[in-house]
Structure formats: C-alpha cells, structure tokens
Symmetry: C2
Subunit: 409 residues, 2 copies
C-alpha cells in the first residue's frame, strides 16, 4: 500500500513556535490551563487550523474543534486530538505534540488535495493536566458526559478563580453546546512519559490498556498549638502525620515491583505558618499498578497506613477517593488500524499500557478510540528535560496521518 508521509520539518517548526509560548529558559514550558499563555497557544492553534482550511468552533468548556469537511455530508467524523495546557514544570511535547501532529496531518492532506469520505475533526481539549484546576481530562470528560458542565465550570484554582470565569477572561467560553458531536472514531498520539520505548528501542507504542489508578485525599487532623512551649509529648501535629503517610505511600509503590506507582505530590496545610503546629493537612495521593488486584492491595496498604499512623500519633485520618481510572481496554479494531499503519510504514512497535490518563481515556466511552506513543528520549516528562527528536515526532505523525486516512475513507 502507498503510505503517505508528513512534512517533518514543518511539524518540528510548529512545535518549536508553540513551545515558545510559555517557554522557559531551560527548554521547558509553563502554560497552565486557561492562563494568558494558554490563550496565546489557543489563538495560534486556531489561526493555523483556519489557514489549513478548517472551520473552528469552541464549546462551552473551551474545547476547540477544527473541522475539515469530507465528501459524505452524512458521515460522522473521525477525530484526533490532545491538549495545549502544561503542568507548571512542563515540557514542550506533552499535549502540544498530539495537537500539532494532528495539524500536520491535516496540512499534508491539504498539500496533496486529498478528500476523505468522512469529515476529520482535530480537537484541542481543555485542561487535560488538572494542574491548575482539578480534576484532570476536564474538557474531554465533559464532552463525553463523564463530568457535568456545571461541575467543571465551578472548579476553582488555588487563588479562587473558577473555570467559568477563567474561560470568559481568555475569551474561550464558546457558543457551541458541549457534546452533541458523534465521532466515528478517535485517535490520539502522545509522547511516552516513561522510559519503556527508549529502553526497548521501538518507534511506536500502541496503547492496549492502562494501569488501574485510584486517587484519594487524605485529611489528617490534629490540634493547633504553639511550636515552642508545647511539649513534644503533648502534640497532635497533623504535618508530622502527613510526613509519615508520605513516606508510607512512597514505600508502597516501591514494594510492588517495576509497575508499582504511588504518589503524594500535592498538599494543603492549615495553617501553614512558622509559629503554629498545623491542625489539618489535606494530602492528595494515588496508587497505580498494571495488575488491578495489586492496585487494590496497594490501596488496602494505604488504608492500613492511615489507621496505624492515626493511632500512633493521636490524629484522625480520613481517606476519600476523588478520582479513578482504569483498567481500560482499548478498542482492538481501532488500535489495529494504528498498529497496521506503523507496520506498513516499516516502524518497529510494541504494545504498551498507559500509566497516566489522557484525553483518549474518557473518549473510549464515546467512540472506538486509539492511543499511541512515540518514545521519550529522556524517559522523563512534566520536566524541562522532556524531549523527543524531530524524527520521532515525524514518525508518530506519519502513523497518525495514515491511520486517520484509513478510518476516514
């Protein structure tokens, strides 16, 4: 079969220009969801999409849809997408690569004057990271109905600004209703955020499923007191309890092999001042494993640790689940389109599980969806060190172009 190829230089140039918006001196990117920097990134994306002949619409949660018409007006579209927001210590590839690989595919179709039967829509989803506004994969989850619009609009950043107000401020509270679009299938390419493809030397990773992940807020309650005169034995220090729990969480992840993961990366202290023993700490934490039973066993260890630490340190600890994902099983037929395209392009590939959620995860409940990875040269993401080579980026866009072309035929 005659496989198409993208323009790798153009893709790299677009990635470089986009990466400059919120770009950091060390080569990273700080472009928090609905910030001024992300507005600039959205504006640039919309301009590029229109220049590629697409019609651009924005829905009420700020998702941007760039539509390239097909020849059959009754056919439901094939969609591609990812996100333009980053974490505070982000790189230039996580999210933006998937959006711009899709844009490059559309541009290449335009270069070649190719029409597909189905329309193709490229989506830039709002707030995938959940770094400024929790929870993550917000735009795609609202699109699929997994999260209500009202709930999403009411979420606030640490400064108290709501998602709805932030969308108004940057001019992306769109007119289009949320949902209502019915996609035939969805394809997302993303950088791998770990080291497996690099270690194995494969060019493409086809995601067949995910780890099981469960997310909690541990609320640790003690008693405020003066840090000086209060004898150590009279204290009920919520932060010391949170520290003990943080170490236990780190231990739990390490105790379950190469696929064990556990985190406690976000915490709020009340109060957080130099003169007072904190009375309450809210610690966001999670456990993940490729084996769902092991993930549940890790959760039990976490619950045991909460009980033990609360008892030892005269604290109360409540553990409330606020999010979960997986284990998902990706659609076999849609994933096979990606795998076949990679094979026919002559790219080495392997099947892989995703440890993190992506917009493709909620999308799996909406339509047959495929997610695939290109290698990370550094094996690290959410960091200035995040890097994939121009060739790796080109290869992934080649796969995306050919897979979407086949699905839209």
């Amino acid at each position: 079969m005659n496989m198409l190829r993208v323009n790798g230089d153009r893709l790299w140039s677009s990635l470089t220009e986009m990466g400059g918006i919120g770009g950091t001196p060390g080569g990273g990117c700080r472009r928090l969801a609905l910030s001024e920097e992300e507005r600039q990134a959205r504006d640039l994306f919309c301009r590029w999409a229109r220049e590629a002949g697409c019609e651009v619409t924005v829905d009420a949660i700020g998702n941007i849809f760039a539509r390239r018409e097909g020849t059959d007006p009754d056919a439901s579209p094939v969609a591609m997408g990812s996100h333009l927001d980053t974490v505070p210590t982000g790189g230039r590839f996580d999210g933006a690569y998937g959006v711009l690989a899709g844009l490059e595919a559309l541009r290449r179709l335009d270069d070649l004057g190719l029409r597909t039967r189905r329309p193709i829509e490229l989506v830039s989803w709002t707030n995938e990271e959940g770094a400024r506004f929790s929870p993550m994969t917000m735009g795609s989850s609202v699109f699929t109905g997994a999260m209500t619009l009202d709930f999403a609009l009411s979420r606030r950043d640490p400064a108290g600004l709501g998602v709805g107000e932030a969308l108004q401020q940057i001019g992306y509270a769109g007119d289009a209703p949320v949902g209502g679009r019915s996609f035939a299938s969805y394809f997302e390419v993303h950088i791998e955020q770990g080291p497996l493809l690099k270690e194995g030397g494969e060019q493409i990773g086809i995601v067949t499923g995910s780890f099981k992940a469960r997310y909690f807020v541990a609320t640790i309650k003690g008693e405020p007191a003066h840090v000086g005169p209060t004898p150590m034995t009279d204290r009920r220090d919520a932060m010391v309890g949170a520290a003990a729990l943080t170490l236990e969480i780190d231990r739990i992840g390490r105790a379950h092999g190469r696929d064990g993961r556990s985190n406690a990366p976000y915490l709020e202290l009340d109060p957080n001042v130099r003169g007072v023993i904190p009375q309450e700490v809210r610690l966001s934490c999670d456990v993940r494993h490729s084996d769902p039973d092991t993930a549940l066993a890790m959760e039990e260890e976490l619950r045991d640790a909460c009980r033990r630490i609360a008892g030892e340190r005269n604290l109360s600890i409540d553990l409330d689940q606020y999010f979960e994902f997986g284990p998902i099983r990706c659609d076999r037929a849609t994933s096979a389109i990606v795998r076949d395209a990679a094979s026919e392009l002559g790219f080495s590939h392997r099947d892989i599980l995703t440890v993190a959620s992506h917009d493709a995860v909620p999308m799996m409940d909406h339509c047959p969806s495929a997610l695939f990875f290109i290698p990370s040269e550094t094996g690290i993401s959410h960091s200035e060190k995040e890097y994939s080579t121009p060739e790796q980026c080109r290869d992934g866009a080649d796969v995306l172009l050919n897979a979407v072309l086949r699905a839209a035929a």
Copy 2:
C-alpha cells in the same frame, strides 16, 4: 507596703471586646498582622488609650505608643507592651492580654489620680507573631535596631503584599521616626504558652531567661517528573525528602527530654500540583532547648539528617539559618521588681524560662526589661483552647501595675 489593685472586671470586659475583633465561633481569634481585623483592634486600642488620657503616636513600622506624662519632664519613660496580632488559629489572650493589662494599669492610675515621676508608655508592637510576615517580633526588633526599617518594610506575605503597603492600607504607616525613644525599663506580661505554671500551681512565672532556639530553612531539591509513568526507582522526589526530614526533626525534639523542642511547621512546594513530583521544597524548621549545648547538639543532628536523607534519596538539601534567639538572661534588678511585687501581693510565683521569643526579648538590648507569665488554664496557646481565667488575668495586671509604679517612682 500598700499595694494597688486593678479593676479585674474592666480588664476582662476589655479582653472580651477586643477578642471579638477577628473572633472565631469556637472562642479563638484570627487577627493577622496588618489585616483589616488588626486595624480594627488598633483603632479600638488607640481610642481606649486616648480616653485614658494618653497621647498616642505611631512610628514608621506601625508600633503604637500611648504615653502618660510624669511629673519630671526630663525623666526617661518606663514602658509596658505586647502585641495585638495573632496567628491564624490564635486565641484571645496571646498578645492582647499584655496590651490590655497595661491599659488597665494606666486606667487604674487615672482612677486614683496618681502621678508618677517618670512618664509611662504602653506599646502595641507590630507583627510579633511573624505568621503573615516573617520574621517575628518585627516591630520591637526594628525599634531596638536589631532589624532595619527597610528590611522590615520589604517583607512580603504569601500573596506578595509588602509590610510597607499593608501599613499604608490600614492607615498605620506612622509619622514618628522609629527608635529615638529611650526607655528607662520595660515590663511585659504574657500568658504562659505551655503547661508549667498550671502543673505547679503558681500564679506568676518570672522569666529569668530563655531556651536557645535556632531557625532554619531547609531547601530540598530533586527533579520534577510525571507522577504516573516515572518508575519509583528513577525518582528524585523533593517532597519525600521533606517528609523524611520532618519525621527526623520530630524525633530529634523527642530525643532530648522534657525541654527538647523541634518543629517543621511551614513548607512551600514547587510545584504543588497533583500531576508532578515536586522539584523543590523549602521547609522552615527549628530546634530549641533550655541547655544551649544540647540545642547545638540537636542542630548537629539536624545537619546529619539533612546529609543522610540527601544521600539516601539522591537529593540536595541545604540548611540555612535565618533567625535565632537565646539564651537570653533577663535583667536581674528589673525581674526582681516583678518578683517583689508578686510576693508583696501574696501571689505564689516561680522562676521560668521562655521557649518562644516575645517583644521583651529584643527589648532586652534596649533597656533593662522584665517578662512574666500568668498561667494558661489549658496549657495550650495559638489555639481556640487558649484560656486564662478572669482571676489569673487580674493577678497579672496587679503585678504589672505595682511593678511599673515602682519603676516609675
């Protein structure tokens, strides 16, 4: 000797009214330095001081001086004072009691038509707590020259507002130059913030000295990475390092007997979001002991812990001292005036060390100063549970009145 007595009901009534400003439903007080609540407290104090016949002046760091003239215009004044700001989880006695006991002493002198030879000045010092703006005992330290005015005015709260701007906002950036007043002696009464007087049953504690305390910021540096795909073994998690250090700090305080204290109550994470392993944590911590050599040994244990944890977890940890106090030795003659007054009033008393700093600590470098405590019924402070009885409050004001009267004779 004929000992005077204050009006305990009036003192309690003033404490109750003042405690309502920033008062919390559980009987505590949240009146952060230079906040709107603290402005109201300052306004109320100024009104009461003028009603008691005092001339009120405010200096450039916002310290409020209420002056009652003496008969000798050339005599340097005797001063009393404490502070009106609280920590976020504060009680109604820490600070405000010392100011209002001084006010009650002035009111009682007015009731009796008594003139002293020396003028008497009652001072409400700015930002003793250091909870909103670090460091603590700011107003008294600037007054004595231990801290420069420029440094103090440039300190910022977590929202980025400077002390200078905050003083302007609440209208307490005063005209009077800082310092320049030369006090003959200084007396401060404060609630005890621990359980010793309650345990011993004494009515008054005369502070003869202090613990040695050294304050540090531990800067723990790792590497940001995605919380999901990054294998546990590849991580350099600054928060896990901070948690290990927090537990070590807690252990160090417990390992050195009844007088060992150590704290790590304030921390800043960068970033502090759900999706990223924190790259840097700045942890404010301190060690204290009544025995200075033991305090230094605790500091060495803290430094060892930093080195060990950094090595074990592939992090860097720098420990920078930013504040210290003690061991102070209080002026024997001035303390003797307080001790004699307590004895002659028939109150049981003991000598005691202070674990925390107070405005009297910097004042000891300015003039002979005395600090004394009344019991805490609950043994706890910086908490809604902070409480001293009306009788305990009255007894302390009786001692203050008679001590100041003797010093101002």
